[in-house]
């Protein structure tokens, strides 16, 4: 990914995030029928790249915010995970990953919704792993299991993925499973969210194409308030 591309993608993601955060933190009297939720998250992660030898595991913290208005939902999630090489992998360097996701979701019915957004993951130090950004195109199904308990499954195509080390990923998907429990008449939210991301990254060198896949598993355990 070139510096110019990175700046352009970064600005888009930042604009979306600012817009959604504005919705999230705006005073309730300006939100009319909106429902806003916000809260911190504890994160467990597993990151793999190129081969089984480049495997990392880590933990971190994040935050999420959601704002609803009529059939629209805006959601922003930030995760910062400190990855360590798995089994103390010799010669591998620890790194931190800061991932920002933002989506705008439109509810088709009580169960199904479609979403459009962006994702960006920055790696520090840059050479330890691949920073990336992509556009998110997804569908989501959501059902009540019981009063105050909701389960969600989602599938997302990560389009136009760009990587700090170059290459592209025409085959890039993410699946997720989420559980939401609401307490105190919905004012307190407990969330558990599983996210698996597969990026079929391909690079080209000397006219030869190489497969350099990237996979990441994230578990987000969150607690928040809604108003």
């Amino acid at each position: 990914m070139s510096g110019a591309d990175r700046r352009t993608g970064g600005r888009a993601v930042c604009k979306l995030a600012v817009a959604l955060l504005t919705l999230a933190v705006a005073p309730p009297d300006r939100l009319h029928a909106q429902r806003v939720a916000i809260g911190p998250e504890f994160i467990v992660g597993d990151y793999r790249e190129q081969s089984a030898d480049l495997a990392y595991q880590g933990i971190g913290f994040g935050a999420g915010a959601i704002a609803r208005w009529r059939r629209f939902t805006g959601e922003v999630q930030y995760a910062s995970v400190e990855y360590e090489p798995e089994d103390g992998g010799a010669g591998l360097e620890s790194f931190s990953a800061a991932q920002l996701d933002g989506v705008l979701r439109y509810t088709l019915s009580g169960t199904a919704s479609v979403e459009l957004g962006a994702t960006r993951r920055d790696i520090d130090p840059e050479v330890a792993a691949q920073s990336m950004s992509a556009v998110r195109l997804g569908v989501r199904l959501s059902q009540l299991l019981a009063p105050g308990a909701r389960v969600t499954v989602r599938g997302t195509y990560l389009a136009a993925a760009k990587f700090s080390g170059g290459g592209s990923a025409p085959f890039a998907f993410e699946v997720g499973l989420g559980f939401l429990g609401e307490l105190a008449r919905g004012h307190v939210r407990l969330t558990a969210d599983y996210e698996f991301q597969h990026l079929g990254r391909k690079t080209e060198s000397g006219g030869t194409e190489f497969d350099v896949p990237i996979q990441q598993w994230l578990l987000r355990l969150g607690a928040g308030v809604a108003f």
């Binding site: 299991l145 019981a146 308990a149 998907f173 699946v175 896949p213």
Partner: protein, 343 residues
């Protein structure tokens, strides 16, 4: 039919009436016995003798009646009619049953009726009604065209009920009110019907008792008959749906993960999927095992709300009606036994 047989029949018909009016005068008793033995001439003589003696009103009427029957038995129509006329002036309600009486007697009796101005069969029906919303019925018969004034008299008060020129059967509705529209005060009154035609006049009266009472108020309604309140919540049957959904959604996530995973990268740590999937399945299982919470039944809630609104409307109507009823008076009209005859 022989005259004697016809008169015997008339005698039999009159017997209960005669028995009801106990005759004290000895001469009159002898006249009755003479008539019963078909000795009409002796009956006439004894009746006339009795009429010259001291008789009570009913006895005098009975004497004229025996005289009329005996004259009719002797085919003396004019004298018979005159005797019946005198009897009718004393007892205007006297009647002959044409089906069971000799035609000669009936003709004499009818002739007497046509010759007399009488107010007969005055009746005031007993009644119970709310003042201003009902009336008591007064009925009488006038035998000749006459100016008929109907009044009610009580104490020093005389109130005109009706004044008309009429003949035959008359029915009047009496609202039992003073001229200003207020109910007549409770007490004993006499309804007097006076008929006047030329120099002839006749009046009949009927005593009545007027009683006043409060009008019953309506009870406050707590239910509408045939419309009971329905339960606003309902416990749904135990459902496998939550567990099924948990399995379905977890299965989709597991299948998606396995489909996308690259074997070159080794087996990833699936603890994240196990954790979230486990929570989801656990909630689904708990939802299955837990007794379902009662759910509001919207239709029943709407129905109960409609019922409450209907009850409130009906009770508002009841309250308004009761306010009116507390201002109203219930009137009871009770006819009393007559103490005298017409004049």
């Amino acid at each position: 039919m022989r005259p004697g047989g016809a008169l015997l029949l008339a005698l039999l018909m009159m017997a209960p009436h005669a028995a009801a009016q106990a005759v004290q005068n000895a001469t009159l008793r002898r006249a009755v016995r003479a008539y019963e033995t078909l000795d009409y001439r002796q009956a006439i003589t004894l009746s006339q003798t009795a009429l010259r003696e001291r008789l009570s009103g009913p006895e005098r009427g009975r004497a004229y009646e025996i005289l009329g029957l005996a004259y009719s038995g002797l085919d003396s129509l004019t004298k018979g009619a005159e005797a019946f006329r005198q009897a009718l002036l004393i007892n205007p309600d006297m009647r002959m049953d044409p089906a069971r009486t000799s035609p000669r007697i009936t003709v004499a009796f009818d002739l007497a009726l046509k010759q007399s101005l009488l107010v007969r069969e005055l009746r005031v029906d007993s009644a119970r009604f709310v003042g201003g919303q009902g009336a008591a019925l007064i009925r009488y018969t006038v035998t000749q065209p006459a100016r008929v004034r109907t009044t009610v008299v009580g104490g020093a008060r005389t109130i005109l009920i009706d004044s008309t020129v009429a003949t035959g059967q008359i029915n009047l509705r009496w609202p039992v009110q003073l001229p200003d529209g207020n109910p007549l005060p409770a007490g004993s009154y006499t309804v007097v019907v006076q008929a006047t035609a030329g120099t002839s006049s006749f009046s009949a009266s009927q005593p009545v008792r007027i009683a006043l009472g409060a009008v019953d108020t309506l009870p406050h309604l707590t239910t509408l008959p045939g419309n009971e309140y329905l339960s606003e919540t309902e416990t749904p049957p135990r459902s496998w749906r939550p567990l099924g959904l948990a399995f379905l959604y977890t299965g989709i996530a597991v299948a998606g993960t396995f489909a996308l995973e690259s074997g070159d990268l080794g087996d990833g740590a699936r603890r994240e999927l196990v954790a979230v999937g486990g929570v989801t399945l656990g909630v689904g299982l708990v939802s299955l095992l837990r007794k379902p919470a009662p759910q509001p039944v919207r239709a029943n809630i709407l129905y109960n709300n409609l019922l409450r609104e209907q009850l409130a409307r009906r009770n508002a109507d009841v309250a308004r009606e009761n306010i009116n009823r507390r201002r109203q008076v219930e009137l009871r009209v009770l006819p009393l036994p007559k103490t005298g005859a017409g004049r």
